[in-house]
Symmetry: C3
Subunit: 317 residues, 3 copies
């Protein structure tokens, strides 16, 4: 049996590369640890010394200010020293290989790399070449994975709904190009959610998605019927003028989440979105800012989840 | 009566958006607090724990390295965690609204936003949408305001001249395009300065400026006669080749501050400039580097003033 | 006798601008201090409070992410407040002079400037205009100097070979355009290395280099014969398609460090390279990743050396 590249010899979390294949006990360890950090972020002094004297490198091979910010603030609240590196504009252009660049940074006694890269698998490649004292967190690699986003979504559902085993969850929109949809489906299933639905146009739903055990709907009203959680996906602007979609207006007419559509879901169903939102495209402002929206709470919980992942990794050095 | 948007329910400072309309007691609170921080910045360990565990976001929608640096160093000397965000190159381009961007950052349990924006009123808009636990500081919005610059100027005058009520202060140059001139006039008047003069060519002095209670001079020698303080304004390069001004040389001949011109002012009159200076355009090097120049002291006091504003806001959460 | 601009009135280190002319006792002070910091960087909490409350400005007039990172991490491990400034895109473009820009930053009660500039001598110019409380470290100025790189190379040699007085050291490659080769030769000679060799094509070896007391070789096999240390220099990409060099392939054939060539050196000879490496141009991967390579250890020691320089300077305020 091949060992999970994210786990150490005793099955402890050594890197966070993808939610796929993470055992249930690790998922629960992250969620439980995150809960304790939510209270830290609400305190007057939002800081604990768990990573004091550790060096966390935000290694961004493509820019993503928002994602970088969430990891930077999480690391600083753990008292780490944080170094932001925009590597696109740096030595990569001097002909150095990715692995030489990273080995060089690792030799500065780095403790943790938060890696964002346009190529799927780059964080895995880096993790494979690091010694056991260095931990890698995937902050988004191509279309492949963005595990902390998936984890904060799961955390948010648990926070409001507590028991996973009675829920119906709908994932709505561009599943094909999403880095999180597949991971999320895996995590929800692993944690005991009995029914996950996928809703969207045929052009944006992968053909083999049913193998993951989900139910596919192309009609939004039917898909939302009776669900406990509506997880909207962001529609990338660049999809609009392609062959996959007619127009933003038409998309909204079929798959935009309006108050009327949301009324098909259970009363009190959660509305989630990873941001940034396209108001009037995939979601109506009345829903985005409405009483069922937990979109900004997702952001708050996201900091706690990232703190949890970093604290767990730092404890497993 | 409409409440001042910068003040909380008990009249305490809740945001710093503009000097206009700030009550005298708040102005004096800032100046007095700044005085105590001047001594901190002269110590061997230039750090106090007043903002420990607070998260300060430098939210720059247009670049200004110098201004960002002053706020960053001020926040770090207060022991805050500082996050620098250059938002121009970020999610704004993904079609997200300004308020969604800021709400998202606020959800990361931010405590303070230092906002720089090309559009007048952007910091006000942000402040209006924040909860009471988040404080906004305007670091320059279009031509509208740049209150910490105005405050550090007032601080500098008080440091050297102590009693405002016996002073004649001249503001020289491009008042029309200045973000600070109007605020400064307001602050000086509020603090009891009996005579404020405005000096400059007709094309750069707003027609209604006399309503603020100032005396207007188009002849520099006459305007400087007997003043205690000469506050030079920066001439933006882009004004040079426009219709408003003939040339840099000609401007210098009429309004450049030379040793001869400065001799018209009172002996020991202060020379001030907000920087960056155009030597040989609005100011002669002999004056800029001369014994009456307090230009670099303004910078030093500016750090203390920004620390004071942040400390006061953090205490009013 | 003109005083060394790097030394204070009592001969203490006041700025680090170049290795040239540094007395032996100062070189040894830096190397000895660095040794104590190597152990700090290996600890669980990689942090000492020596620069707590000090403000270190990384003042980069040309971008160099890697170099900036090494100084940033060094300063943070000394507990300094670090401000990164990319000045190219900032007020320099507003017509302000270099010295006004720096005087302005100094007035923010800076303690230390780490300066990178495309023009040789810029750090010297800045140092000459600073008061005694501000220290300047040259992080690379044009083709002139990059003293911490030279010091970390010397540190690495001492770490592995201990006694300088029995060594033969070869410097290989583009000496003509190197910022470190000359300094390194000076440092090695000052520390007692009896034989320094320079190896490279005629077009890349300065004609007057023998005045420094080195032996010049144009044949690599003969130059490497019996040496204890092989210091490779980086071949800048832009040299490849110029008049100075035929092609990368041909360069590798004549001066690339292969296992066969390395076999000419003493058994256990050190292989060093400042990075970033051009694999297959100046060095073969089998050597770069081989047992004699200490290239990544140079990086690790480089952090300790930079910490040492900063700690010594901060103690001499």
């Amino acid at each position: 049996m091949q060992r999970n590249p994210q786990l150490g010899p005793k099955g402890e979390l050594s890197h966070l590369l993808t939610i796929d294949g993470l055992p249930k006990d690790i998922l629960l360890q992250i969620l439980d640890t995150a809960r304790s950090f939510v209270s830290v972020t609400e305190r007057d002094v939002k800081k604990v010394p768990l990573l004091r004297g550790k060096s966390v490198f935000n290694l961004f091979f493509e820019p993503s200010t928002r994602t970088r910010t969430t990891f930077e603030i999480a690391a600083k609240r753990l008292s780490a020293d944080v170094i932001n590196l925009n590597v696109a504009t740096s030595s990569q252009t001097k002909g150095e290989t990715l692995l030489d660049t990273v080995a060089n940074l690792a030799a500065m006694n780095a403790d943790m790399f938060v890696v964002r890269h346009a190529s799927s698998g780059a964080p895995h490649l880096i993790a494979r070449h690091m010694g056991p004292e260095i931990h890698v967190i995937n902050a988004g690699d191509g279309r492949h994975a963005h595990p902390t986003q998936g984890l904060l979504d799961v955390y948010t559902i648990r926070h409001y709904k507590e028991d996973f085993t009675r829920l119906t969850v709908a994932v709505v929109g561009d599943v094909l190009h999403s880095r999180v949809a597949r991971s999320e489906i895996h995590a929800l299933t692993t944690l005991g959610v009995p029914e996950v639905r996928v809703i969207g146009p045929r052009t944006l739903i992968p053909r083999d998605i049913e193998k993951l055990g989900v139910r596919v709907f192309h009609d939004m009203d039917r898909g939302l019927d009776g669900v406990d959680v509506v997880m909207m996906l962001r529609l990338q602007n660049e999809r609009m003028n392609g062959a996959l979609l007619p127009s933003a207006n038409e998309y909204f007419r079929s798959y935009g989440l309006t108050p009327e559509r949301l009324a098909k879901a259970k009363p009190g169903a959660l509305v989630m979105h990873p941001g940034p939102m396209n108001r009037g495209v995939e979601i109506d402002s009345a829903v985005a800012d409405g009483p069922q929206s937990v979109i900004l709470h997702q952001v708050t919980f996201g900091i706690a989840v990232r703190m949890a992942v970093m604290a767990i990794l730092a404890g497993n050095g």
